[in-house]
């Protein structure tokens, strides 16, 4: 099977700082992959390179067999890469309905009929448990609901690769359980790339885990392999040798 996403020697430097340094990465279709690592490990920069918000200094990105390294971000979205932001960035002054209508109206094939848009919006809101809140301004939703709206917008793009950047940050335990169910459901139709700090969520969801540290990939494997990996424990917790 061909990987959905491959990066070769992907790098990004800011001045002298190598935020991402020579990353070779590949992701199989249908997988749920978690990227973990300490703060400043380059996780967000790495996925920003994949979705095109940041231009790489080195290397290449291949999505579904096509070199997308120099493709502008909006084109990548059209090819099926959707990104949900780490810092919630829904359109605060627009209603939840309009927030979701934006991606829905773009992905609809047969014209922009009000009815078709309406059906698509209602479906995306229902899937994320936001039904009944369509007329609320997004900025007035609770934080957890704003995160869900962010996911609803990502879903409405009908992506082949959905990148979730710290989606459970700031959610309550109950909301996190609902979220895990939602991501499992999404994984039925899309490949999921997840940056996450909450290890419980990672262990429950991920098929494989990639650990980043200092802009490079430190380790990669199944959740069991990663939790037994000495290098990972070192990067996260430090070892007596450090002291």
């Amino acid at each position: 099977m061909m990987p959905l996403l491959t990066t070769k020697g992907l790098g990004k430097s800011y001045g002298g700082l190598k935020a991402v340094d020579g990353v070779d990465f590949s992701l199989m279709p249908g997988e749920i992959r978690a990227i973990i690592g300490p703060n400043g490990a380059g996780k967000t920069t790495f996925v920003s390179l994949v979705c095109g918000r940041v231009h790489p200094s080195a290397g290449m990105i291949v999505f579904d067999g096509e070199d997308i390294t120099s493709m502008p971000p909006h084109q990548r979205v059209r090819h099926g890469i959707a990104y949900t932001f780490q810092i919630t960035s829904v359109f605060a002054n627009l209603t939840a309905y309009d927030n979701v209508a934006l991606p829905v109206q773009r992905t609809l094939q047969g014209g922009h009929g009000h009815k078709a848009v309406h059906a698509g919006v209602m479906e995306a809101l229902a899937r994320t448990g936001l039904a009944g809140r369509e007329d609320v301004l997004a900025g007035h939703l609770s934080y957890g609901h704003q995160r869900l709206l962010e996911v609803a917008m990502g879903l409405a793009l009908k992506p082949r690769l959905l990148i979730l950047d710290e989606p459970t940050q700031g959610l309550s335990d109950g909301e996190i359980d609902g979220f895990i169910t939602l991501v499992r459901e999404i994984a039925g139709s899309a490949t999921v790339l997840l940056i996450e700090h909450n290890m419980q969520v990672v262990m429950k969801l991920a098929d494989r885990i990639t650990v980043m540290n200092g802009g490079t990939i430190l380790a990669e494997g199944t959740p069991e392999q990663i939790s037994a990996n000495a290098d990972v424990q070192h990067a996260y917790l430090g070892t007596p040798a450090d002291e």
Binding site: R53, V77, F91, L94, Y97, L102, Q105, R106, H118
Partner: protein
């Protein structure tokens, strides 16, 4: 917002019907003034499309207005074109100019965009003065009555005749009002607002924001040019003052007063400004002082303009 289309549609029809009825009720002076206000409200609506919906503050829209003004005026004055052909020439001038300006100016944002548009408008203004041989320079050109007749199947419409002029102004105003309502409620309009709210996010939903902004600049430029062309044809005067920086600021004020990103705000703002000036200049020669104070009070107490504030506080469905 989900579209409950009935109330807004009824409101817009009512406004157009009211303006139609005023044709039969107003005394001569106000009748003439309102015709002019409707033409300039079209200018304000064009400005509002870019400023209100996309959030791009241009300080150079006088060039789009005068592209229409001179495009149609020169076609009549020098080439002897008919009124409809000259109006078309005005629209084409506006479309061509706004396309070029959009391609260049949209490489910038924020303050730089304001300055770049202002500079282009100054270039346009100075070019009008420089080519005085054809444009009449600061004297301008006057179009004669005989050049402002429309032949329609044996009937001659005289655009210098008050009722014909009023109805022509109302016709253009109504078409543009309905068009802006349609745009504001369309998928395109939703994207424009999204760009205003958060352009980066809009890109990440798969939209080519540059192309959408360019389309908005051209639509705005064409509407402003339609206003300029109508001004030349209905009032017979084509002059460089109408291309000066003052005419770039005025539509901004009209829109701010009436309410940015409301469909009827441009009309409300234009009527308001005109009548404040009209009434106060009857009492004092320092009428601009009164206008200034009125503007300050409005910005303090109605920061979103008259209709913007009404929409926020009372009438949520107002488009």
């Amino acid at each position: 917002m989900r579209h409950d289309g009935f109330k807004p549609a009824a409101l817009h029809v009512a406004v157009i019907a009211l303006l139609f009825a005023l044709n039969f009720m107003l005394p001569d002076y106000h009748h003439g003034l309102l015709a002019r206000i409707m033409v300039l409200a079209v200018f304000a609506m064009g400005y509002n499309l870019l400023f209100g919906y996309v959030g791009l503050l241009s300080l150079g829209h006088a060039m789009f207005f005068s592209a229409g003004l001179y495009g149609s005026g020169l076609a009549i004055y020098h080439l002897g074109w008919s009124v409809p052909a000259a109006f078309g020439a005005g629209l084409v001038s506006g479309a061509a100019l706004s396309l070029v300006i959009g391609l260049l100016a949209l490489r910038t944002t924020g303050v730089a965009f304001m300055i770049v548009t202002m500079m282009f408008a100054q270039v346009f203004y100075l070019s009008i003065l420089y080519f005085a041989q054809w444009t009449g320079g600061d004297q301008g050109l006057v179009l004669q009555q005989s050049q402002r007749l429309i032949e329609v199947g044996g009937v001659t419409l005289d655009l210098t005749e008050p009722v014909t002029r009023y109805m022509a102004a109302l016709g253009l105003f109504s078409v543009v009002l309905v068009a802006t309502l349609f745009i504001a409620r369309s998928a395109f309009g939703r994207v424009l607002v999204a760009i205003r709210e958060n352009e980066e996010r809009t890109k990440m939903l798969g939209y080519d924001t540059f192309a959408n902004k360019l389309a908005a600049v051209v639509a705005s430029g064409v509407i402003c040019a339609a206003s300029g062309a109508a001004y030349a044809l209905l009032f017979g005067y084509v002059g460089s003052t109408l291309a000066s920086v003052q005419y770039s600021i005025l539509p901004l004020l009209w829109v701010l007063l009436g309410g940015a990103a409301t469909t009827l705000g441009p009309l409300v703002g234009t009527v308001f400004m005109y009548y404040v000036i009209d009434v106060t200049s009857g009492y004092t020669s320092a009428y601009m002082l009164v206008v200034g104070i009125a503007l300050i009070l409005l910005v303090l107490y109605f920061p979103k303009g008259v209709l913007g504030t009404i929409r926020d506080r009372w009438v949520r469905w107002l488009p």
